[in-house]
Symmetry: C2
Subunit: 421 residues, 2 copies
């Protein structure tokens, strides 16, 4: 049987534009990996009549309805009541859920005066599958009525994601009698359309396994997905596919099932017992910030210098005054001296540096926006790389800084793998 | 006449979860400032039949339909054709738009071989109002048929925002015969619910002018809006309202019609001809990154040090070894010494410092997650402030770093205004 899902987000804050409907994005991505089609998203306010109308429309065109939001303890949280009315199901009180809510309040919120409104959160449709929520107070639930499956999830993105991944996904897998396995490949250094072009034959080849691209800022994510009965069976389909992709893209693929370039660099450095530092001009702290976003970064990261002025380049990093006079701050020579100075100052094994023009204007020496030099200092010496990040229309200062950061981390990665271009 | 708008986003990439529907958020926020109700958002794929069904539903429940996406040059960009069929309007070719598209390609894309598919972008509904697009190739358009106004905007967020603000907004203002004026107040140092509580009487008071809160990470935005015939008339309504709010919140309001705390700090420093630098431990470069996100930051920002290890604190910032031994790295004494050392090293008038525990674990001295010290060094001396950012459930390492950054900028702001707590 082919399943088609429709997403209904409930919340006036979405209609006022206070927040974007990121739950719909997360669920759509998750449902696509389950092989479930999504044809419509609907957003409706905290209004029972309009929610009821949206449900009537959805049940005519989908056999799975997933709602997000409206499960909270306040008077305008009406999703459960409205759905139960629309489907002719009564609500019943769950003593065990109520106890969990009370325990949650006492342990996590350090409160014993549990608001009466929360009792409504322990009311669930008769006979439903409870999707218990250890990361919040509102449990989700799922039921089937007249051939339509309804899944209700809480609205806060963290809770919604948790309940989908850890509760609802299993419910949906049971419906589709399929288990879905996937791996993500991360690509840096080739545009999305070029990646699609290079992999076109593989992408259109079949329906199981499949390969699909997702664009991210300045990089590309490829997801290989297989439907199978066991993980072994899925791996037997996925490994040859991934092998083919690796054959074509080579070291443009910086990782499999990883979150970011900096995560890969962190893992490589940690594995080899090497420490890291960064000297930043145009990225202005972005590289240090991204690296220290990673929990546990202190095991590797020593520190960094944001040398926005020439004086700081000289005084903190020891870049010779004459070098800047002669070549300008945005130059190969200064990038190398910055990396070396940073490595010395921070006492790190590896130091990366960035100096360039992020815009909006040319620098005082007339260098164009997007001109960037990267330096890398290790015990084996210092190398430099120039990149042109000027890009096309619509490329902003922020984009140039983000891309310069990507290139800096990629330079470290390639140096550690001995594949610096 | 009361206008009710429905948003229809067209794009299979939304249903696959590749991107979130941020256009809907932007438009909803804009429409609410125009006094136009939004009751539903719908997302539909690049499928003419399903788009037609969504249009049929929307025209029954709204009198303004705004579509985003599907105006591009490729075969699956079918919004205009489908809408014209649904409303019984033919498309006509606009020679002048075609010339603009050609000129755009030659100037911006440096191409003379304009793809044939782009010709379809110069086809628009007969008699429509053209919303010309200087920031892309797809023009938008608007028309009225049978009492329904239809506005079509391109999907890429930058173009969509530009065309809404600079083209569609005027079209809608003409309908509602109202002009809307608003000011935004930014609040830091009080939670959203406390702000709502403090301003409750003002918020529920009337419908023109109005005051509404919007939550942002760790801060609160208040929007005061008035409907009037002239700007003077609106200002005459808004000034007393804003005066009342300022009376209640005082210097918790850090700015009016500004983007962020760092923007306010930047403006204050620039106005006074002062330079700035930052020494960061737990924020790991975030403060420098945020400050240098601002175009023109180099006029004020000298540089910074990310002193993740004690060795870098000592060597780069000159924090005495004994001080760290005695008080620990997360302490008032070290925060002060970091700020002073940074001010000296970077030669700046003002230096801020942050040292604390961002988590996920306690530091090696057993200090709890969320314990943060901020230092501020100026020619008048050095001060320190301790904040507890441990927060409740769901507060992450990333939240703590963001909040520590907010507090650091707020400390600088208050010191410049002589209102340090």
């Amino acid at each position: 049987m082919q399943y088609t899902a429709e997403l209904i987000a409930v919340g006036t804050e979405l209609l006022l534009g206070n927040i974007a409907n990121t739950d719909a994005q997360m669920l759509s991505e998750g449902l696509s990996t389950l092989g479930i089609n999504v044809y419509y998203h609907t957003v409706v306010g905290d209004n029972p009549q309009r929610l009821k109308e949206a449900l009537e429309i959805a049940r005519r065109r989908a056999n799975i309805i997933i709602t997000t939001g409206g499960l909270g303890p306040t008077y305008d949280d009406l999703t459960k009541q409205t759905i139960c009315e629309a489907f002719g199901l009564p609500l019943e009180f769950h003593e065990d859920i109520w106890e969990e809510i009370c325990a949650y309040f006492m342990q996590r919120m350090k409160r014993e005066d549990i608001p009466e409104g929360n009792k409504q959160q322990a009311m669930l449709p008769v006979g439903c599958t409870v999707l218990d929520n250890p990361v919040g107070t509102a449990p989700g639930c799922a039921f089937e009525k007249d051939g339509i499956h309804v899944v209700m999830l809480p609205g806060p993105p963290f809770e919604c994601r948790y309940l989908f991944e850890n509760r609802a996904r299993a419910y949906l897998e049971k419906l589709t009698h399929e288990r879905i396995f996937s791996h993500e490949l991360r690509v840096f250094g080739m545009g999305e359309s070029q990646v699609e072009h290079a992999l076109h034959e593989i992408m259109v080849r079949g329906t199981n396994p499949t390969l699909a691209p997702y664009a991210k800022t300045g990089e590309c994510l490829l997801r290989a997905t297989a439907k199978a009965h066991t993980e072994e069976e899925a791996e037997a389909m996925l490994r040859p596919l991934i092998g083919e992709v690796r054959e074509i893209l080579g070291d443009l693929i910086y990782g499999e099932d990883v979150g970011s370039l900096e995560e890969v660099v962190f893992a490589l450095l940690k594995e080899r017992g090497l420490t890291f530092s960064a000297a930043e001009s145009c990225t202005g702290g972005l590289i240090a910030k991204r690296f220290t976003d990673l929990p546990g970064a202190s095991a590797v990261f020593q520190g960094g210098v944001v040398s926005y002025t020439n004086a700081v380049k000289e005084q903190a990093l020891g870049v010779p005054h004459e070098l800047i006079e002669k070549h300008g701050a945005v130059s190969e020579a200064v990038a190398c001296a910055m990396a070396e100075g940073c490595r010395r100052l921070c006492g790190s094994d590896v130091a990366v540096s960035v100096t360039g023009v992020a815009g909006p204007d040319r620098d005082e020496n007339g260098n164009p926006v997007g001109m960037v030099f990267l330096g890398l200092a290790t015990e084996h010496g210092t190398i430099c790389r120039q990149v042109d990040l000027s890009g096309g229309r619509g490329r902003t200062r922020s984009d140039i800084r983000t891309l310069a950061g990507h290139h800096a981390f990629d330079l470290v990665r390639r140096s550690l793998l001995n594949t610096v271009l």
